[in-house]
Amino acid sequence: MKIRKNVFFQLASRNVRLNFSRSLLAALGIIIGVVAITTMGILGANIQLAVSSNLSSSANSIIITPDTGSRGGFGPPTRGTTTLLITDNQVREIEQAAGHNVVVPIHSGSDLIQVGTKDKTRVTIYGLDPEKVSNFVEIAEGSSLRGASSGVLIGSTLAKDQDIKVGTRIKVGDESTGTNEVVRVVGILKSKGFGIDLMPDNAIIAPDHWYTSVYGNQGEYQQVDILVPSIKDIPPIKDAIDKKMNKKVKVVSITDSGALLETINATIGQISTFILLLGGISLLVASVSIFNVMMMSVKDRINEIGVLRSIGTTKSEIRKMFIYESFIIGSIGAVIGGLISFIGGYLLVRVIGTTNYFFTPASIMYVPYGMAIGIVVCLISGLYPAAKAANLNPIEALRHD
């Protein structure tokens, strides 16, 4: 067996093998560190991707709500609340500012419902123009709202929890809320997830004429949505509404889902970074362990370093040999850590939520990133011991027993 061309790499790898237990313990620190930062990174990325995906379904809308900071003289509050409302006149102003884009005034409130003999539960009830419902939701079963009918649509979560089918009759309200209506379910909605325009999964969507006949507020709305074809269309419309309606005092708040998406992404990003930093602490601990192992390696091999120097090995070659050693330990730790992170990350994401986004580049990139960070940490930890080895006085090193 002959030495390969790179004799220093060979010496380093043989030393790792010779001190296998010690090297493996040092690599274990790197394994833990790589697993910590990689799985946390994957988890953060998957949460971010899942939330973004849910939100992006409502990413092209502008939501106008009464500004709660002003007392601009909107219509009377809904029953039992102090909520300000947007009037029909204001809706017309919004329509002018929105141009040809779809404007949907929305009634919303909450009430108790009862399905058969089940317990009563409080849900959100939206009142929408039946013609415009299809702009927000998709029907999974049954049909959509019809003009004069009082049939309602049910969110997927609510339907599942209350075992509601198409045709089920639901009692709305009780003595405490002052309403007492029965509505028939005409359609079950597909799951929509979190959105800032509507959150229908645990709600009832009723025709606006039914809503106002039961709860009043004719010509007054909790919010108005403008649906735009592209996120690029949002800023000019927002500006136009702001100029038109918030001249002297701010009477409406204008939110767009794109901006919210950015804010939520930034927040999740910050949380992910924080978690990554926590994972980074374990890598820091690992780096101390690598440093210690490398210093021990230098100490164990002082005489050998003296011999190598005396027979013609340069300082830089000695340095290289020890850096190779920390690279080998780092690589072992990074490869094992990467594999564990890949499998562990997949299982973790599966337990917490969906694995739909696991194999996307934004998620899976944390595996090579984590591995690279592990190796770099090892290399940095090995720099000082390598320099110390290279700078040993060959005469003193030769005398060392």
């Binding site: 067996m1 030495i3 011999v307 120097r309 027979i311 013609g312 090995t313 060959p394």
Partner: protein, 230 residues
Amino acid sequence: MRGISISDEPVIRLVDVRKVYKLKAGDVTALQGISFDILKGEFVAIMGPSGSGKSTLLNLIGCLDVPTSGELILAGRNVKEMSDDELTFLRRDEIGFIFQKFNLISLLTAYENAEYPIILKQGHMDEEGKTARMMKLVGLGDDLMTHKPSELSGGQQQRVAIARALVNDPALLLCDEPTGNLDSVTGSQIMDILKGLNEQGRTIVMVTHDPNIARSAHRTINIIDGRVAA
């Protein structure tokens, strides 16, 4: 003189070499103006009691250290003006070290130990069979090539060390008590190898405190209190 040809050309020239160690407790002068030449093909023994300065002299000749003053010319080059890397290359190319404790690399096999200086110098493995020739020259069989140093006897380890010292065809073999860790029979075998190498024209400088061993040399330089004794 066993009919050996010694040229007039010095391999080593020391001119008023002084070595002073600066310590906290005060300066210690290890060598106080040493001058001598060692000619090509010579076999020189350096003797002296402990603390006489012979180890310091060996370190200077071996380019592991540089003189505080004076001149040390090795293979035509003044070591005092050389950088650390240049001194390292000089050791690699012009000096073959043979130590008392053999000092083989425990991670490498016998063959790899002997081959190591070639790889250092050429940047690749020995493709000319020089390592195998040198191992054969010092009496090591093929069966020992793949053994690690811990699997070899003292005499075998010293033979590997001699092969390692020879592979880069150095101008000088520098031996530090080469038989000090060996029994008398093995020691005399090693001395026979060294004498044989000298007869082939190798210049050898050997530090020893054993007058019997020193008798193998052409001449002996005695160092006492950092000076060459008259």
